[in-house]
């Protein structure tokens, strides 16, 4: 909000409070309020430029009553956090119905993304599905094809996992060069939640997969009936049929009432609004695994079924949205993640990769989850080139952009996980740059 720097006038504040008070007591409240605000105006005149709400004054919210319980039955963030929202890049896609938005990861703390800020990706918009009329059918090369209601699915033993969800196109706008002066747009196609559901392997045991069954087609109930081919190995390993995120039922944007979730794999495989799983002996080669979500290489050939999200990291503070202001102490902080397991180490460079120092991993360090890293830093006002470099438990070291381009060129769109560079200016502002 534009006026977030300056508290609203006490009169406006009281009027707003009054509007939230039941009408029977409103007149009385307003009467008191008017008297009260007159007093405050006098105080501010004598107090000069100091806000009425700053010490030594007693702030207005310490002398009035707040809102009562269930005034917001489903709560929302403070109105002063109105700028913490998902955003999209309008020119990226033809229409918002088939598009993507990014999470404001520059504003988030810890590793969990609040449900209202999880990035969105639709191919035909987010459908409105009545859970009582939703069904999941599992059929194909099985002994016992079954149809499940949502109540059925919730009777199975459930599991909860904390995993990131990332679109493989995260960062994909910058293969050719830096474009976006904002972390939200360079890396925001990622979120991390606690996901709850039933193991896919449990459901597969229930239907009895035949020996010839090697692949699973997962299909959504949205207008696009988005579909992907999933190898049986993943299904039996850690795939989940998810109906809840961060403690509550899935948001419509995230596949309400039920979605597939493939930890560590490109987000597109975690098919939302899941209506059908067909077991087959071969993959289907559908549109989202041929025309899209394949990686064009410089020789004109293309990789397909590139499911894993390789180790990646980015500094979230400072970043273009979180500049530094004065010289002094700061915490260089960021996020690292790997689709192949846990983050083992993150290193930070302030000189464009000439030298590196280890950062500390803080909080939970979980497999296939966002992981926080931190390095206390005393800034003397000198410009710098800030980078982070993640290493996962397989020993894979996040590549430089040059290394990635040498193998993949600039036209593969997906899976750009290279070391990212922020240019720290002497005035503390941060610019998105790339190094050659």
């Amino acid at each position: 909000m534009a006026n977030s720097k300056k508290p609203e006038s006490s009169k406006a504040y009281l009027a707003e409070l009054a509007s939230q008070v039941p009408s029977s007591s409103r007149r009385d409240f307003l009467k008191k309020g008017v008297k009260f605000s007159t007093g405050l105006v006098a105080a501010s005149v004598t107090g000069g430029a100091i806000s009425d709400n700053l010490p030594p004054n007693t702030p207005i919210w310490s002398k009035t009553l707040g809102t009562g319980v269930v005034s917001a039955p489903y709560g929302a963030p403070s109105k002063f956090e109105k700028n913490v929202i998902r955003r999209t890049v309008p020119w990226l896609t033809a229409d918002k119905i088939s598009s993507i938005s990014m999470s404001p990861i520059h504003e988030l703390k810890g590793i969990i993304t609040p449900n209202g800020l999880v990035f969105e990706r639709y191919h035909a918009g987010a459908p409105t599905i009545n859970p009582e009329e939703h069904r999941l059918i599992i059929h194909g090369l099985v002994d016992n094809p079954l149809i499940f209601t949502m109540d059925d699915l919730m009777r199975f033993p459930s599991e909860s996992v904390i995993n990131f969800l990332e679109c493989p196109a995260n960062g994909g706008m910058e293969w050719r060069g830096p474009q976006m002066e904002a972390l939200q747009f360079t890396h925001g196609m990622i979120s991390c939640c606690e996901w709850t559901g039933v193991r896919l392997s449990t459901l597969l045991e229930e239907v009895g997969v035949q020996n010839t069954g090697k692949w699973i087609l997962a299909e959504g109930a949205d207008g696009a009936s988005m579909s992907r081919s999933i190898p049986m190995g993943k299904a039996l390993d850690d795939a989940l049929i998810v109906y809840a995120q961060n403690g509550e039922k899935l948001r419509p944007e995230q596949g309400y009432p039920v979605r597939l979730f493939n930890p560590g794999w490109e987000g597109n495989t975690s098919v939302k609004w899941l209506r059908r799983l067909e077991i087959g002996d071969k993959p289907w080669h559908h549109r989202e695994e041929t025309s899209k979500y394949t990686d064009l290489m410089p020789d004109g050939r293309a990789r397909r079924f590139s499911y894993e999200q390789e180790a990646n990291s980015v500094i979230t503070s400072p970043c273009p949205e979180n500049p530094w202001s004065t010289k002094g102490s700061y915490e260089i902080e960021g996020l690292a993640w790997s689709g192949r397991g846990k983050i083992k180490q993150v290193d930070i460079s302030i000189n464009g990769g000439v030298s590196w120092q280890p950062a500390r991993l803080k909080g939970l360090v979980l497999s296939k989850a966002l992981t926080r890293f931190s390095l206390p830093f005393k800034w003397d006002g000198a410009p710098g080139l800030l980078q982070s470099r993640a290493i996962d438990e397989t020993g894979y070291v996040q590549p430089t952009l040059t290394q990635l381009r040498n193998v993949r060129g600039t036209n593969s769109i997906y899976h750009k996980n290279s070391i990212h560079t922020w240019q720290l200016q002497s005035n503390g502002s941060i610019k998105n740059v790339q190094l050659k």
């Binding site: 309008p90 020119w91 059918i137 599992i138 830096p178 229930e206 990789r303 070291v397 193998v407």
Partner: protein, 306 residues
């Protein structure tokens, strides 16, 4: 003896009953009901490269042409070239190794079955799953024709489908990452004097301060509000970035200058096209399927929007 063995059996039955209701052995939850053939058939719409899943039916290039122009061309272009940011369907042969590859059905897609499957499950964009199988065959045939893969008298059927081989089929291979091998160097990893810093392109990062669309909308006239959606689908590509001399939304100076000739002239130029000193405005922005009123609304939106 006899009564003892009866008792033994009775106890055994009770024990088995207890086990069967409390154990969670594989596949023994007994939750869910058997999916009927009819239920499965209604939802089982997928088609594979070997033709598995294709229903009976057929469609000609000729029939497909009419359907395509009616249902597809507004987004994908009359020749499959793609309007605005909507996907092109044809062309781009031999471009995959070029600086700006064009990935179309003909130049990139490995299987014709993908085309049938996708049209059937997801197209037309605003009315998915409204085409009957013969129409899907016809549209598939026509898109293949747009890519010079079949002749204009071709009729696609369930029987000749498997014979179609797409030119790019053999150029896909299974993921072979990891494909980079960075090492964890800590000191003197590169020569600081050889670092070249590439700056970002200016002016294309969306404004993050504008927190919600609500405040914007409230100040728009009725016409401008109606034009907003047209703008984002048909005008944004040029007027968002300013290519071809197109004035951008927040360039007040450019719009004020143009408004001096009067709103009617401005709208007329947008409808009929205009060639000025600064650049070119194609008639209706190149999307002739838009009505004059839609264009007028979009112009209002561009002038009023901040």
């Amino acid at each position: 003896m006899c009564s003892l063995s009866k008792l033994f059996i009775a106890v055994a039955v009770v024990i088995i009953a207890i086990i069967s209701t409390t154990s969670f052995a594989a596949g023994s939850f007994g939750i869910g009901k058997k999916a009927t053939l009819e239920e499965i058939a209604g939802w089982d719409i997928d088609v594979r490269p070997d033709g598995k899943g294709l229903p009976k039916g057929q469609g000609s290039v000729t029939l497909g042409e009419g359907l395509y122009e009616e249902k597809c061309a507004s987004c994908h272009g009359i020749f499959g070239e793609g309007e605005g940011r909507w996907p092109p369907l044809a062309g781009g042969e031999g471009s995959l190794t070029e600086d700006r590859p064009e990935k179309t059905v003909g130049s990139y897609w490995p299987y014709a079955s993908t085309l049938w499957d996708y049209i059937n499950r997801a197209m037309p964009f605003a009315a998915p799953k409204t085409l009957n199988p013969d129409e899907v065959y016809a549209l598939t045939a026509y898109v293949l024709f747009l890519n010079d893969l079949v002749e204009d008298d071709f009729i696609l059927t369930v029987n000749n489908f498997a014979a179609i081989k797409m030119p790019n089929e053999d150029n896909f291979y299974i993921d072979n990452r990891p494909d980079t091998k960075n090492i964890r160097c800590m000191e003197s990893c590169k020569d600081p004097d050889k670092i070249i810093v590439v700056q970002s392109l200016r002016g294309i990062t969306p404004d993050q301060k504008r927190s919600s669309g609500e405040e914007k909308k409230s100040s728009l006239s009725k016409s401008a509000s109606a034009g907003q959606a047209i703008y984002s689908t048909s005008c944004l590509i040029c007027h968002g970035s300013g290519v071809a001399g197109a004035p951008t939304l927040n360039d007040k100076e450019a719009w004020t200058k143009r408004l001096e000739q009067g709103m009617d002239t401005l709208v007329k130029h947008a409808i009929d096209g205009f060639l000025g000193d600064k650049g070119i405005m194609p008639a209706k922005g190149g999307n002739l399927s838009l009505t004059d009123e839609q264009i007028e609304n979009a112009v209002h939106y561009m002038i009023e929007a901040e």
